[in-house]
Subunit: 446 residues, 2 copies
Amino acid sequence: MNLLTSPLLTDLYQLTMMQGYVDEDMCKEAAFEFYVRSLPPSRGFLVAAGLETLLALLEGMRFTEEELKYIAGTGRFSKDLLDYLAKFRFSGDVYAMPEGTVFFENEPVVRVVAPMPEAQLIETRLINILHFEVLIASKAARCMLAADDRAVLIDFGVRRSHGAEAGLLAARASYITGFAGTSTVLAEPIFGIPIFGTMAHSYVEAHEDELEAFLSFARANPNNTTLLIDTYDVHKGARKAVEAAKRLKETGINVRAVRLDSGDLLVLSKDVRQILDQDGLKDVRIFASGNLDEYAIRDLLSQGAPIDGFGVGTKLDTSEDAPYLECAYKLMEYAGTPRFKKSQGKATIPGRKQVFRQFEDKTMVGDILTVEGDEIEGVPLLAKVMEGGRRIVGRQDLKEIAKYTRSQVKSLPAHFQRLETTPLYPVKVSPALSRLGQELERWLGL
Amino acid sequence: MNLLTSPLLTDLYQLTMMQGYVDEDMCKEAAFEFYVRSLPPSRGFLVAAGLETLLALLEGMRFTEEELKYIAGTGRFSKDLLDYLAKFRFSGDVYAMPEGTVFFENEPVVRVVAPMPEAQLIETRLINILHFEVLIASKAARCMLAADDRAVLIDFGVRRSHGAEAGLLAARASYITGFAGTSTVLAEPIFGIPIFGTMAHSYVEAHEDELEAFLSFARANPNNTTLLIDTYDVHKGARKAVEAAKRLKETGINVRAVRLDSGDLLVLSKDVRQILDQDGLKDVRIFASGNLDEYAIRDLLSQGAPIDGFGVGTKLDTSEDAPYLECAYKLMEYAGTPRFKKSQGKATIPGRKQVFRQFEDKTMVGDILTVEGDEIEGVPLLAKVMEGGRRIVGRQDLKEIAKYTRSQVKSLPAHFQRLETTPLYPVKVSPALSRLGQELERWLGL
């Protein structure tokens, strides 16, 4: 069974509910929406991401013979359900905000409209994909704000990301917000994302001499020469890098950069810049890594650290200060009637929704959440991207998404472009949507 | 390319270093150790996990034609390296603590001894696997301490885990600490882990009437009947569940449990217990879910909440209060000589190490970190599990691991079995290991 594409990467209750729906022939059209109930305290906005991953999954979703055999073997389900699963194809429509769109609480990012059992089955994996890519893109966008075009950022997080798929998708989610690339090799053949790499401490340690390690590494990788200088002592390491750069120059090899991975990066980067400059190595860049996040990057750059690039790893790929989002995928309509739940703290706003975004002088000033079809001033954010189980928009170039994300973030009000928590962005519920909720309460006798 | 097994799920620098090693013919034996530098403030101990996942990966690691073609196409690497990669098999030895062993900072959990380029290539994915499974097993063990045999725990986290593999491996990592099972279907065919499921709010919402939803769900799943009672109003929901249970009983269907997913679980569970008991439904269990973690479980149970089982989701699968560990995989020896780095805050203790655990009356009282081969009183924790690239121990039954984990946790000093942060467990460095470090400093002239 293929972990990444298997429809069995789902919660058991999706199958038990499908059993109920198939038994009762409740296969009419359902509309579900994916949204975030409330933003983590450390986030002023979120960034839509993961749509492409989701659409590819939905287009290919099938039960294999092996999976059907397993399901039959559990003895939990009827022959009718097994027949239904054997023929399963996702046949629904999907509406979504384009990847890179900034969004706020309660705003639908993706809406699925499909026969009830289909819309239900996909819930678990849909949330699993969208939640993670939104989580990382939103953290990465903050790192980009902190870098403020003064340094390039590279994703270094795969080793401490939560499993293989998280590592790969974190490379994607950070690249579409403007990162220059990633250290994760697989991201190049799979997504065409530029990859970057330097050397590890083990390489220096394995050699009897640090200088010898630098020389041999550069000869082996003449076009990719970044030297790691903090294995034993940064200042001595920097001087050895200077010595190496001079010797290598004679053989036509240019050392591109040195890397710092520990210690006080502000002080050390200034010292190292001086050591490099004294010897005329003004072109050699300084690259820094080691437990960095948006706050560290901002603080280093604002204090004048001469750092040209940052490797951002663990804290990005785990979204360390907000490792999950209060997201949900909820039933909003079934068989033409709006639906909702009133569970304490988790109530939903019923009906198919659209978000209109309003601007003043190209700056976002507020969003209005309303029923689909309502005519309101502003830019509607959701559009149909899949119809009858087939995508109706092409694959987007990731660089284009990155440009769009940048323009989105730049159109936020200025105080939302800072790292500190800001007041909530105004998201208003339209009169039409309020009325719908009230009518539904009356109708259900609540 | 298969994301889960591809050797390209690695950092680019592993390949650039391999280029150096192959060019210089530095393929002698290297020893690397995986350990955690320091524990997060909210953890008093960690639990070894992920070894089985790692060994399976190492045994099967190959470069496919497609991967070799991609690497050649990058133009970054020599024909010699490509030839090396085409023949690549992991041929090394692995020493490890058994899964389920509790461990502390600086203690090697896994040691890899292999020709340098092999030991280096596997670094990224080795950390990626061990880091995540240790992270989740350690959080899950705390949930088990909180439940204290008074309630069963089930992993509910796949939807907000970080990608597909995290969802699947979280089910495994929690099961081997004593969880009863998971909601993740795929965990049953892949790992043989028991799966559990109830119903979602959408099922209730899609029906015109809550009672009708309960009845139809139970008829469709007569052996798996847990009713979700908080969609609109818990008290009304509980009474409808009673009504449903009575009617279903006449047709031979037993309602097993009701589920609460929101609100004040202490108050609501007591109210619901009363409603159920009043009508003679003493056998119907109460199951709770919704943003739970070890603290919430402990608080609910210690205040007498009549809850029989908990679904633990997001906060478990993301290890929310400690979403990463300061772990490392570091070179300890190359070509027979110990190695170390002195990077600020990240210095290593050189040499191949063993951990001896000392007991008093079956209670752990302290660990001693020493050089391999040293004879010290206590139980040695690392043993060889793979030789020449082939495992020399069989696959362990997950239930057996769970028993072992339980016995490990129970042998911790009492104050380490509480949830609050405790003083550091005593891990001493032996005289032999201290001497080794001092000799190395002198030898390197540091």
